[in-house]
Amino acid sequence: MGSRRDRNLYRELRCAGLLLCSGLFAFPIQAQTPHNEELMKFTGQPGRRGGRLVLALRSEPKTLNPIVAMDEPSREVIGVMQADLVHINRASQLTEPALAKSWKISADGLRYTLRLRSGLRFSDGQPMDADDVVFTFRVYLDESIHAPQRDLLIVGGKPIEVRKVNASTVEFLLAKPYGAGERLFDGIAILPRHLLEKPYLEGKLAQYWPLSTPAIQLAGLGPFRLKEYVPGERLVLERNPYYWKVDEKGTRLPYLDEVDFLFVPSADAQVLRFQSGETDIITQLGAENFSVLSRQERGFTMTDAGPGLEFNFLFFNLNGLPSGASAETARKRAWFNSVKFRQAVSAAVDREAIVRLVYQGHGTAIWGPVTPGDHRWIEAGIKHPPRAIERSLELLREAGFSIGNRSKGDRTLVDHEGVPVKFTIVTSASNADRLKMATLIQDDLKQIGMQVQVVPLEFRSLLDRVMQSKDYDACVLGLASYDTDPNSDINIWLSSGGTHLWNPSQTHPATAWEAEIDRLMEQQLTALKFAKRKKIYDHVQELLAQNQPMIFLASPDVLVGAKNKIGNFHPAVIEPYALWNIEELYHRNDGASTK
């Protein structure tokens, strides 16, 4: 921190200053913690202050208001400017204290008592206390605001209740015990009451904090605060001087002075910018671009962070038949509803080729929704059968299908009435990876005699078909869990769920195994111990593997790249992949490669 002489000089000056100003100022000028802040200690590699980080965003954020933000760029920027009570550490995938320094869960699992760090201040210098927390949750839970977070805060059908105990303690009351209770708080940004209460009471909160807001009207508890916004070009954030973390040496985080978000609309343009050195970090890379960049690593290193949480799958239309459906539709629906049919398709798919050709090896074949990236929840016992055409044909024979030879030498699969098996797979036209997967599957299924057409649809038309009109045969889609906990995807597995893709929003479970999955998911929702929940969820995974409503294909690795001078760069497999520890990133002064 400087030589002994400097420190002495500093002390002298300080005393002189105190004497001078004691009568004039209401509070001391000392730079140490005047408010007795309880800061969080960062135990990783300490870095040095200074430097600017330049990043690319796929599109301009639409807002800086956490209550309204639904699109990804907005959430990414807001995530850097705001903080939550309990945070999920992206590297360990476990919860850790954030604004709340500790918490207690009552024995019945219904009451969570959180103790806040005292003495913390917002980025504009105003103090933060329990009133802000209560106000925050009041806003999120307000029905007239339609905040996207509201749905997350409803447990057991009822919104959680928030009560202030004292200035640094808040109590949360749940209607039913919730196994993943602590994880509820991750991403719920604590809002400044001193700025937002007035617009909230006037009913104008949803329009507040657009991108054009002047910096002094914004406040948050995140590591950075807004410095300037240039429409169409960039968004610049600067260090929040009141950030509540320090490193082991006592230096207040974040290390970086500034973060620049540039708006670069296409993936290819982002690759170009990164390659030319204009941006420092690149994430959400496709495998092909990753290869291109890996070939010439000049001053930067490309990292394969390992399997992510995205899982891609093929699913069939298992909805009930609409009235007036044609005989052809009825026949196809009957094929799809046969478990052996689906198992046969699963046995015929060449997952290794998908990993090789679509992800260029940077991916893993999966047979269930939990990818190897989720190391806590993955069920090791699920079978991973390799591709076996013979097994597939055998299953089809058992299901009543038979295979014949056409004149051209291709096999044709026919059902028990002699009708050849033909159907279409729809997929999103804008996602090149899934299109490729669908084309590979089409070729695979040709080997067992099925004639498949791949129909790329515009994404919104695709969604319309799958969720609304239910007018499709099969579909290749992918989903990326935003958390490793299975509750984040619960709407997929519950038969009443809106994203229960193969037969959404059922009033009663259509099959016995779906009913069983419903029961199990409800059970693990309220179970409190991890071991118990895991056992239940393993059972769910096994049911999925047996009945194959979704034929799981592959999961891409998280591919990122960063300049060598960025220290503490530890990409994670959960979003935000590279920025989750942005307050720890710093500029190395050696600049040498880390290999």
Binding site: H146, P148, V264, L272, R460, L462, L463, S488, I490
Partner: protein, 324 residues
């Protein structure tokens, strides 16, 4: 004057018809922007219904068209679902980018094509004519898409030009000279493609028009009188050929907004073309209708300007009108 009034009315009729057609086409397409929100399990059905109502997507199509027409008359072209901004400013900004490209390209194309066409017509049958015809023939057979992709490959391999986009990062902080240089470098591939693609048509038409004039009696008479070639060209032949040339120029003007769609998409130039493609794929109704409308306005306007210029330049048209 009546002639002009008639042409103006004609233009307005075309615009109305175009807007009707495009609005109905896009409105009948399935799927809408809010469907994407449905895929996100965090967002409830209520929020989505609220959004749908906010954008008026639940009213029948003719009413939506009427509402849109009324707001356009007020200068408000609707709201973009995807970008969450009013359509007008969005379109204008992108149109400005397109115009930067196409105005440069059109000017350059004409500056190159006019002298070449005239030269080719003068030396008809000799080697300048033959070379030029050969070159334009070659250019004509290379499709736009091959040219654009070819230039992109060249840019990527040689590194001489940036491979896409309009400006580099940090454009705002550059000096004026640097800005011009940066913009210029980015413009080279798309402008080259547009200029090259336009040459064959322009040169051939110019040549044909000039040849026709050169063959006429009064030019021969002027030659016989010993008037210099230069004077004949500037004072006699060119004004005579003005009619088809001005029509051609009107056509060039009209294509300012719509002619560069493919080139913009391939070179990632942030103009009207990529915006429209994106909006079509995203079913962003008002952007699509707005985009087609302004490019139709440009097309119709270009032809109208050509009509005005013709009226002013060609006394025969004025004569015809007074004779009617």
């Amino acid at each position: 004057m009546r002639y002009l009034a008639r042409r103006l009315l004609h233009a307005i009729f075309l615009l109305l018809g175009a807007s009707l057609l495009t609005f109905f086409f896009t409105a009948l397409a399935p799927g809408s922007y809010v469907d994407e929100m449905r895929m996100n399990p965090q967002i409830s059905a209520d929020s989505i219904a609220a959004l749908k109502a906010q954008y008026n997507l639940d009213k029948p199509v003719p009413i939506r068209y009427a509402m849109w027409l009324r707001s356009v008359a007020n200068g408000n072209m609707g709201f973009s679902f995807a970008y969450d901004v009013p359509v007008g400013p969005l379109l204008l900004m992108r149109a400005r980018n397109t115009l930067v490209l196409t105005i440069t390209a059109t000017l350059l194309a004409w500056i190159i094509a006019l002298p070449l066409g005239i030269w080719s017509a003068e030396r008809s049958g000799h080697w300048p004519d033959r070379t030029i015809t050969w070159i334009t023939g070659t250019l004509l057979v290379i499709p736009d898409i091959a040219l654009a992709l070819g230039f992109l490959e060249l840019a990527v391999r040689s590194g001489w030009f940036p491979t896409g986009g309009m400006v580099s990062i940090g454009f705002d902080s550059m000096t004026l000279a640097e800005k011009l240089k940066d913009l210029g470098a980015h413009m080279v591939p798309p402008v080259s493609v547009l200029v090259l693609a336009a040459q064959p048509l322009l040169i051939r038409h110019v040549r044909a028009a000039m040849r026709e004039e050169f063959g006429k009696g009064y030019v021969r008479a002027a030659e016989a009188h010993g008037i210099s070639k230069k004077r004949i060209l500037w004072r006699y032949a060119l004004p005579g050929a003005a009619n088809p040339l001005i029509s051609l120029f009107g056509f060039s003007l009209g294509a300012l907004l719509s002619g560069s769609l493919l080139v913009e998409i391939v070179t990632s130039w942030p103009g009207l073309g990529p915006l429209l493609l994106e909006a079509i794929l995203a079913r962003d109704l008002y952007v699509v209708t707005g985009g087609i409308l302004i490019s139709t306005v440009c097309l119709v306007g270009g032809n109208f300007i050509a009509d005005v210029m013709l009226y002013w330049a060609d006394p025969r048209i004025r004569k015809k009108e007074t004779a009617e």
